[in-house]
Symmetry: C2
Subunit: 493 residues, 2 copies
């Protein structure tokens, strides 16, 4: 047993305080800090994504981008700044975003009499520009130009970009004034194709949630009040966090002809008749990293699913005697290179920190596998590795050869296991109830999770509106598994 | 000979008009249009990067990102909106960017009495935010927080993002109000390391220019007037375009202690003394796609270097008889899949366009290799392929087996050949001269390219200032190859 491991055992303190049970929101912030994922930027509501956190986003991008391209979607890039008149074309849409947008009004600064820099009045824009809160309207303009005939359809576009929505109560990853996402925008000739596409992209997201993020996804439709402004259907993935609140993971919208009308997206069909097109949009953002934390992290910090981990193996050189240093580091380099050949990413901690600190850094960052290599390990030919998700039960002593031949299996097993563990945690998060009275009692008793109830019982119900207000709960979705007959109601991020 | 090829031969029209010789700037715009690379957006000075153009940027990103990471640089993400006070911290810097920035002043819209949407006065920001024209100041703030000790150095950061600079004379790719780039920002303990780093990153860019963009790069230092605002040295890659104008490809700055001072980036050194750090920054943008066009494209459109081509082989199914359609398309699919296994990207044109139109689409898009597959080709087992860079001389008839076993070599040969051709075109673009009189005569005679002259002759010279003004020329760089003794002067994009 290493010294550090002893420390854990003897005083059983956690690396992150407070614990999840003590104060979940504060625990969340502290996991982000302990794992060096992100921090509040010196710009109101914005975050700086630190290298370790950004590496997670790069992995999300690389896997999801491949899946999106497999759907024959093409990436492109559209302007950041959208003329106000474009946003204003669709009444419901502008209503939804007018209250939270960054408005560009000038294009030059000017030094005034007092020597202060101020926006130059002479550079005031005739028409203000809005920093994109989403891009339906500006992409709609391109669709209007690019779509002429049924031959141009379907047209499937996606962009990876930054978005600004002025958040009043920002929270790292979950709700920030600026965030990163991908937004897909597809155009079809028929209503059926558009709805199928919106559902199809939700399936792609579900696959990504379960097999990459290792987060069990509840697929469903949003109730009308919770739809994206302008959508005729919003499909969503809802997931339950460890504290029992729901998180809207990502959404896929059937926009019907709303934006085809406002952007005039028409095509000449096979029958020689000009028709209005049908569009969809679908997006997944840096918010998913918040979900990753709230589903997998524990009281010692982050736990990364291997497929998205910035590095999968953390190599910890144990140097008791300085004379061994170069031999040990050389050995570590060799292991790291051999792992790279297998497609396993590893990083050797070459800092002069103490071994226990190196170990705790790995734990807090949620590195899937820690591998200890010291003079004794090299002499004996036996290495010790520990799987992050299993705590101290995850420790094993094996030969180098065995480690090399089994590591891919260990990681893929951990990936599956984390989904299974998340399933276990999510189980029981949804309680089936039959009456609004039961709903009130459930939330009044501060029970963990949400409830599922006959959808008809909440429609137009004053009592439901009262419960929503009193307990800050919302309808999360009408799960597909219940064929739209039932609704899940819960507190949410 | 195909019908389309005959057309070329008989009337020798070009796919793009005007030709380079007739009107280079208009030819440039029309190549972009013919190849579907980008277009002007409905937002002043901004562009929409179309899927085919964005795929080039994705390839640039993927190769360059790998090279940047090999330099132990970590990617991260910093806010889009920078408080005015941050930008104002460094006098020279704000002077350089104040005239061309997008200023966010409000965070909400409001419907006035006339029913017009206007920025809501009650949402006016106490401090305006500037859309990043570059990120030294906001990243400097993070460096101030992250760098405490010599152990934290060097710190090497990079971000891929969008940038806004209000361009008065926008031009697709070359100068747009919004563009995409990567910006690297490194911190060091010593002046020497910072200067070495700025030069090192220029070497990385040079490698990228020559071996990916296939553009010969002239490495050098900018003259003081042409330096980045705040830099003590700006290193640059200059390249000559086919019309003889120079293009600043990308730059790498030794920022000395300018931003370390204004952002207070200090570290406790080994000797226990707190010291100011030294920083560098370096960037490459979507502008390089403009260079790619102006160096390689011809009067028939784009010519893509294979390493950056969205797809390297354009498969053209030749369907004379509808009965053959499915057989031919199946065969094309098989070829495309076999190529993918080799890591060669291909795309089959399954549209119902005429064969000659399909061929011209490939030519205009600059697809490196066109492969024709029809019923006869399948029956004979002989395929015809054409290399884009060689015109009609690039046509060859080979067996499928030979095509498959040689295609990788054909592409890598083409990549090298394009650099060699670009070298040939660039040769003679720089004329060595000895006096300012010769310089005046050179530009007055409207000769192609620029001149190289003893740097001492232009320093503080009124005659040089007059020449600059009269002929719109600028000092491009002091080439490293001349050890800073000489300067290249030319018109530039």
């Amino acid at each position: 047993m290493t010294e550090a491991a002893k420390t854990v055992k003897t005083n059983s303190r956690t690396a992150v305080t407070p614990t999840r049970a003590e104060n979940f929101p504060e625990w969340y912030q502290n996991v982000i800090k302990a794992a060096d994922l992100a921090e509040n930027a010196p710009v109101r509501g914005c975050m700086t994504i630190r290298p370790y956190g950004y590496a997670v986003w790069e992995n999300i991008q690389s896997h999801l981008d491949r899946m999106i391209k497999a759907e024959e979607v093409q990436n492109a890039y559209f302007p950041l700044m959208i003329p106000l008149s474009f946003i204003a074309r669709e009444a419901e849409h502008i209503e939804g975003f007018a209250k939270e947008c960054a408005v560009v009004t000038h294009h030059r600064l000017f030094k005034n009499d007092k020597g202060e820099l101020v926006p130059d009045k002479d550079s005031a824009l005739a028409e203000p520009l809005i920093i994109r809160p989403t891009s339906e309207t500006i992409i709609g303009e391109s669709m209007h130009n690019w779509v002429q005939s049924y031959r141009d359809l379907p047209l499937k576009l996606n962009q990876w970009c930054n978005i600004v929505r002025w958040e009043m109560r920002p929270r790292l990853f979950l709700r920030t004034a600026e965030f990163l996402w991908q937004e897909g925008h597809n155009v079809f000739a028929t209503a059926e194709e558009a709805d199928q596409d919106a559902r199809r992209m939700l399936d792609v997201y579900t696959d990504f949630f379960e097999n990459y993020l290792a987060i069990p996804a509840i697929q469903g439709a949003k109730t009308p009040d919770e739809r994206f402004p302008g959508a005729i259907e919003t499909y969503t993935i809802e997931a339950f966090m460890q504290d029992g609140k729901a998180l809207q993971g990502c959404t896929s919208h059937n926009l019907g002809q709303t934006f085809a009308k406002s952007s005039d997206i028409k095509f000449l069909d096979r029958d020689g008749i000009q028709k209005l097109a049908w569009t969809t949009s679908w997006g997944l953002s840096t918010r998913t990293i918040g979900g990753l934390i709230m589903v997998h992290a524990d009281d010692d910090g982050m736990v990364m699913p291997p497929k998205l981990a910035p590095y999968q193996v953390g190599i910890l050189p144990i140097i008791h005697d300085d004379a061994d240093r170069s031999k040990i580091l050389e050995f570590c380099d060799k292991v790291q290179k051999d792992l790279a050949v297998k497609g396993v990413s590893a990083k050797t901690d070459k800092s002069d920190a103490r071994t226990s600190d190196k170990m705790w850094t790995c734990i807090k960052k949620g590195v899937p596998v820690r591998l200890e290599i010291g003079a004794r390990e090299i002499a004996e030919g036996q290495l010790t590795y520990t799987c992050r998700d299993l705590g101290k039960d995850g420790k094993k002593k094996v030969s180098l050869q065995e480690f090399m031949s089994t590591i891919e299996g260990v990681l893929s097993h951990m990936q599956k296991d984390m989904l299974e563990q998340a399933h276990q945690k999510a189980k029981g998060m949804v309680t089936e109830i039959k009456t609004l009275k039961e709903m009130r009692d459930f939330f009044a008793a501060e029970k963990i999770g949400g409830v599922k109830i006959d959808y008809k019982l909440i429609q137009g119900s004053d009592e439901f509106e009262a419960i929503k207000k009193e307990f800050s709960v919302t309808p999360r979705c009408l799960p597909f598994s219940d064929k739209g007959q039932k609704v899940i109601v819960a507190k949410a991020y």
